[in-house]
């Protein structure tokens, strides 16, 4: 095998691997991407039962109830419309999980229409607003930020 050929083969193998990685990535991103839903999207076009998705919105006031076991919590998540998605979560609530606060729930939709969360991401520092909710429009976002943010100066 000539040196030129060997180089060529190496380059082709490398390219194939990289392109393969790219195709694989593109394919699994289509299928497995952890999709983000707003409550109104989830209400109008629900994901498949059991598919890993994220639900982001606001914790509805007065909707938090704790089950008798002391660790399971039910609450409703609302978005820009009146739609509200019931969420069930077993675990320690994030430090800043309160009513009317922004929350991102990771999990999947159950057959009964309750979103079973495996993980809750509440705002992480005093300036954190779920980025996915920024599309609410500036006024709404500002309102939400001030409502959900402890100690943020207006």
């Amino acid at each position: 095998m000539k040196a030129k050929h060997q180089r060529l083969i190496l380059v082709i193998i490398a390219l194939l691997a990289i392109v393969g990685a790219g195709l694989l990535a593109a394919w699994s991103l289509r299928n497995q991407a952890n999709y983000f839903y707003l409550p109104e999207q989830m209400a109008s076009d629900p994901p498949e039962v059991g598919q890993a998705v994220r639900l982001g919105g606001m914790v509805k006031a007065g909707s938090i109830t704790t089950m008798p076991d002391g660790v399971t919590v039910d609450f409703m998540v609302t978005g820009n419309t009146a739609d509200a998605i019931p969420v069930r979560y077993s675990g320690i609530l994030p430090d800043l999980f309160v009513e009317n606060s922004g929350v991102v729930a990771e999990g999947s939709l159950g057959p009964d229409g309750v979103f079973v969360a495996t993980n809750l991401l509440a705002k992480h520092d005093e300036n954190y607003v779920p980025k996915e909710l920024e599309g609410m429009g500036t006024e709404q976002a500002a309102k939400m930020a001030s409502e959900t943010t402890v100690g943020l100066k207006p």
Binding site: A3, Q6, R7, L10, I13, A14, A17, I18, G20, A21, G22, L24, A25, A26, S28, L29, Q32, A33, N34, Y35, F36, A52, R54, T66, D69, G70, V71, S90, G91, I92, L93, D95, L96, E106, N119, L121, H124, D125, E126, P130, K131, E132, G135, V150, G151
Partner: protein, 662 residues
């Protein structure tokens, strides 16, 4: 005055970066073996620039140490009541300060290169310093024009607004500086690669100059990622050690490229192969560290720990990124053909295995890169997605598994050319080990496939790592080889920890009344009491958990839920009980209405091996550097001795002196 001195030092340093760039560029005009008279300023410019940049950083450090509230950055990121150590670490716990640290390390490494590196041809050295100056200039411009750390407030603030409590942790004191030093060390590798490309001097001598920089940067990145992973594990209270968060990916991507680069630069130094590939990886590795900076600093990505974000600054870094990376790849495309070809090798050979692993690392890099950038791309079409472990784990495993397999046999192959039949026995041994472990573990219970495979691979890799030592006089094995053995063994150890964590972790979540007991693993955990405690700038509720293993003496664990008042924020402080065979991880949650407390407990067998493995890998890198330095020192001494002998001969009028018996 302090702030003004710092600012002036920065402007002067930027001016010197211009001088370094221009003067270094003149080196390219020199004829072979000569030095252009205008090129002699590049080295001193780099050294003085390093001193000035360090001075600027020390000034900012001082301003934070004394909490100078007339400086905007200090006022918005510090607080007079904060513990002293976090006042200091707060210097780089924010955007401006961390960029100043970045520039400081960049200038310092450039200065060190200029001061100590004498082996490179002067033309290559000049070109390298010119590139280094150009890179530094961009970051000086970024600091001075858009993120001046020394900006004064019109009226000094009465009190600072504090530091994000998650950053008030010793993990954050060491994690960012090591990562940055690693990132920036790759900038030297980049400059060297560009310098060599510009002068077409890509050869083993050049690789020997580049290797310690790559190794050093890689060791620091390894250490930084390991420390960062442990920090996220105990500080976030989520019990996980890797979240595929964009900020984590931002440090993983340069590490993947640097790992590939480190291996290929070693091949180039020792065997004179992979010339253009090494240069390309040099460009790629630094591109990834620039991209990482952009992702973390620009705020384009949602992340649980993206600090100090600002989209306008993102545009600036994106511009720099485009300029440097685009420029570098353009030069690469134009010049790569002119780089002389290296030595050839067969597909089954040590080089072949290394190339294969290089390609696999690049493929994983592509997977991580695409997954990290994908949300950005879809957002342009107003579709918001977030990509997480369901994508990253299987997609990267597809390339990681063959990589680990080849990594096991690669070091057993000979350089240049080998026959697979020669290592038949070893391959059989490793394969049977792999299958035996998987069969044995799945006999005792049903576990997910990936952790099982991980356990088998870890066992095979651990044995494979030490196989190259077989049949050798251990005292004679070069230090650098020990480095490789240790680093590869570290991979096996880390893999073992990850697999155990994935397969055998137990979790218990319960609401417990004081006096109540929960069982997890071999442990009985009793909630004795919950009491308020106070720290220097926080209050907390603290649980007293008495842990008894198999009815033995109790050990106390004290997880806390802390509330900071400036800025007002809460954090979970997990409590860890470390045993040789794992960790018990405890978090306290909220109080339920009936007075019970939420407690979350994990028993994570061998989870600590993940970070021990990381440390072993870094230690292997350090041994490698030490070994190379020792060999270099010996070689130089031998050359000096030879020169001395020739000089003596000349002095004797050419009469051969009697050779001393050794």
């Amino acid at each position: 005055m302090i702030a003004e001195i710092g600012l002036a030092a920065l402007w002067l340093a930027a001016a010197l970066a211009v001088l370094q760039m221009v003067s270094g560029a003149f080196a390219l005009k020199a004829a072979e073996g000569e030095v252009n008279p205008l090129a002699i300023y590049a080295r001193p410019a780099a050294v003085v620039q390093a001193a000035l940049a360090v001075l600027a950083f020390v000034m900012l450090l001082y301003a934070f140490a004394v909490t100078d509230l007339s400086i905007k950055l200090v006022a918005s990121n510090s607080h007079s009541m904060k513990p002293f150590i976090y006042k200091l670490t707060g210097t780089w716990g924010n955007h401006e300060g961390s960029m100043l640290l970045w520039v400081g390390v960049l200038a310092l490494s450039g200065g060190m290169l200029a001061a100590f590196e004498r082996r490179l041809p002067e033309r290559t050295m000049g070109a390298t310093l010119a590139v280094q100056g150009f890179v530094a200039l961009g970051f000086y411009a970024f600091l001075l024009l858009s993120s001046n750390p020394f900006e004064r407030l019109p009226v000094p603030a009465a009190e600072g607004s504090g530091l994000n409590p998650l950053l008030q942790d010793i993990g954050l004191a060491i994690h960012p500086p090591t990562l940055y030093a690693g990132y920036v060390g790759l900038s030297v590798a980049f400059s060297l690669a560009m310098g060599a490309l510009l002068t077409r001097e890509v050869n083993p001598a050049f690789a020997r100059v580049m290797r310690p920089w790559v190794l050093g940067a890689w060791v620091l990145l390894t250490f930084g990622i390991t420390a960062g992973s442990y920090w996220a594990y105990y500080e976030l209270g989520w019990g996980g050690w890797w979240f595929w968060d964009p900020v984590e990916n931002a440090s993983l991507m340069p590490w993947l490229a640097a790992t590939a680069l480190m291996h290929s630069v070693s091949v180039l130094a020792a065997r004179d192969a992979l010339r253009t590939w090494t240069i390309m990886l040099g460009v790629l590795a630094f591109s990834m560290s620039m991209l990482g900076t952009f992702l973390v600093r620009s705020g384009v990505l949602t992340s649980v720990h993206a600090f100090a974000v600002d989209p306008e600054r993102g545009a600036f870094i994106l511009g720099l990124l485009g300029l440097y990376i685009g420029g570098a790849f353009t030069i690469f495309a134009l010049r790569a053909g002119a780089v002389a070809e290296g030595k050839r090798f067969a597909v089954t050979s040590r080089e072949g295995a290394l190339v294969f692993n290089n390609v696999m690392l690049s493929a994983i890099l592509a997977i991580v890169l695409l997954g990290t950038l994908y949300p950005l791309l879809t957002e342009a079409f107003d579709v918001r997605v977030s990509v997480g472990p369901p994508y990253f784990n299987p997609a990267s495993a597809i390339f990681a598994i063959p990589m680990f397999l080849v990594m096991a046999v690669g070091p057993l192959l000979r350089w240049r050319s080998d026959k697979p039949a020669r290592i038949q026995f070893e391959m059989l041994l490793l394969a049977s080990l792999l299958i035996a472990v998987i069969a044995l573990v799945s006999f005792f219970g049903s576990y997910p496939f990936l952790p099982l495979l991980g356990l088998g691979l870890a066992a095979a890799l651990a044995v494979a790592a030490v196989l190259p030592l077989r049949g050798r006089k251990l005292a004679r094995v070069p230090v650098a080889t020990w480095g490789m053995v240790l680093a590869h063994f570290g991979v096996a150890v880390a893999l073992f920890g990850m697999a155990c964590e994935g397969a055998f972790s137990e979790e218990r979540l319960a609401a417990v009344a004081p006096g109540g007991t929960e069982q997890i693993g071999d442990f009985a955990v009793t909630l004795e009491s919950v009491a308020p405690v106070a720290g220097p700038n926080w209050t907390a509720i603290e649980a007293r958990l008495a842990v008894r293993q198999d009815g033995g003496a109790p050990v106390l664990l004290n997880p806390q839920a802390r509330s900071f008042w400036s800025p007002p924020q809460s954090t979970s402080e997990s409590a860890l009980l470390t045993k040789w065979n794992g960790q018990l991880y405890a978090v306290i949650g909220n109080q339920a209405e009936d007075g019970r407390w939420q407690i979350r407990l994990w028993w994570k067998p061998f989870v600590t091996f993940i970070w021990y493995g990381g440390l072993l890998i870094a230690l292997g890198g350090i041994l490698s550097i030490a070994g190379r330095v020792r060999v270099d020192v010996k070689r130089r001494a031998a050359i000096a001795k030879g020169a001395q002998r020739r000089a003596d001969l000349d002095a004797l009028g050419g009469v051969p002196a009697p050779v001393p018996a050794e």
